[in-house]
């Protein structure tokens, strides 16, 4: 009887055309969900390929072919950021930055765990939590340009390989989730 149920279940699965998740989602989609405590909700679901095209419409001074230029007034040069990144990457799996604010009860950490750069903000007093996971390969791709340019197209290509949460922000009033599926 149990075997019959299994066979029936498998048949239904085949008839309904159900496929493994990986086969269903050949093209990655970017999902953004924002929920505010006052009730407002925003949901955005777009294929990453559409994001890539939309980014081409960025203003001329920022966007140039495959790269993003940081403006003149940017405090930190991309070349400096690239150098810093190279050094951080060489340090391997470690906590890069830990900041504890005793007054606010807030802890900010930036660390590398495996192939991810993790940014965590834990504000116990404010009931606030921020989680940002950035793949190392994505940052590598972003800094693959030269001079004061970031390789946005390369970063998007890396992003399209990833599945799951990228950003999660939760505090007592708002929730933001950005993920790729």
């Amino acid at each position: 009887m149990k075997g019959f149920a299994t066979v029936a279940g498998l048949s239904i699965l085949l008839l309904t055309g159900a496929r493994p998740a990986s086969a269903q989602t050949a093209k990655p989609w970017l999902h953004i969900q924002v929920e505010e405590a006052r009730g407002a909700k925003v949901k955005v679901n777009v294929p990453l390929s559409l994001v890539e095209i939309a980014l081409k419409a960025a203003p001329e001074p920022i966007f140039d072919e495959k790269h993003i230029r940081i403006g003149k007034h940017c405090d930190l040069k991309v070349s400096d950021m690239r150098r810093m990144w190279d050094e951080l990457k060489a340090a391997g799996e470690t906590d890069f930055v830990t900041v504890r604010d005793e007054d606010d009860g807030e802890t900010v950490t930036v660390s590398r765990k495996g192939d991810l750069v993790q940014v965590r903000v834990d504000g116990a007093k404010k009931n606030e939590r921020v989680m940002v996971d950035v793949p190392v390969a994505l940052v590598d791709a972003l800094f693959a340009g030269e001079g004061e340019q970031l390789n946005l197209k390369g970063a998007l290509a890396e992003l399209s390989k990833r599945r799951g949460d990228i950003v999660r922000v939760e505090d007592k009033s708002d929730r933001v989730r950005i993920w790729i599926e």
Binding site: A40, K41, V42, K43, V44, I53, A57
Partner: protein
Amino acid sequence: MLLKMAGAAALAASVGVASMDYVFVDVKPDKDAPRIILPVPLLAAELALAFVPPADLDVPIDDEARRYLPIARELIGELREMPDAEIVRVEDGDELVTVTKKGDVLEVRVKGDNERVSVNVPLDSVEEILKSARGGRLDVRKALRGLHRFGRTDLVEVVDGDQHVRIYVW
């Protein structure tokens, strides 16, 4: 003049008798006002173009707009290829805004306390119109042909209290 009229008739024949589409503008300004329905035959618009000097049908596009044309074409192509989905949903109190891709149409819906806006953007028509803008110039005749692709559809509907505006192709 006779030659032009003959040309217009030939043009009418070339666009086909089947394309006897009308764009209807249906307006009711308020509860007590009369309803105004204005039918505009697309064929008549095409015929009228036959009387316009060809040079005036080739409109230059400014540099800024020209820059965005290939991106717009790519965006429309990508939107047409992607599966049906609700792209944007914003809920704020009594207001709901959605942008949905359904088939070859991009549907924009706004529902408020006392208002309702509905816009349907036929992607293949937009693609056709964008195709008519090449080499930094817009071919008005080709752009108008893009309107024929709308088929029978509601393009815009706005209901605000007692006011009602509807634009549709029939």
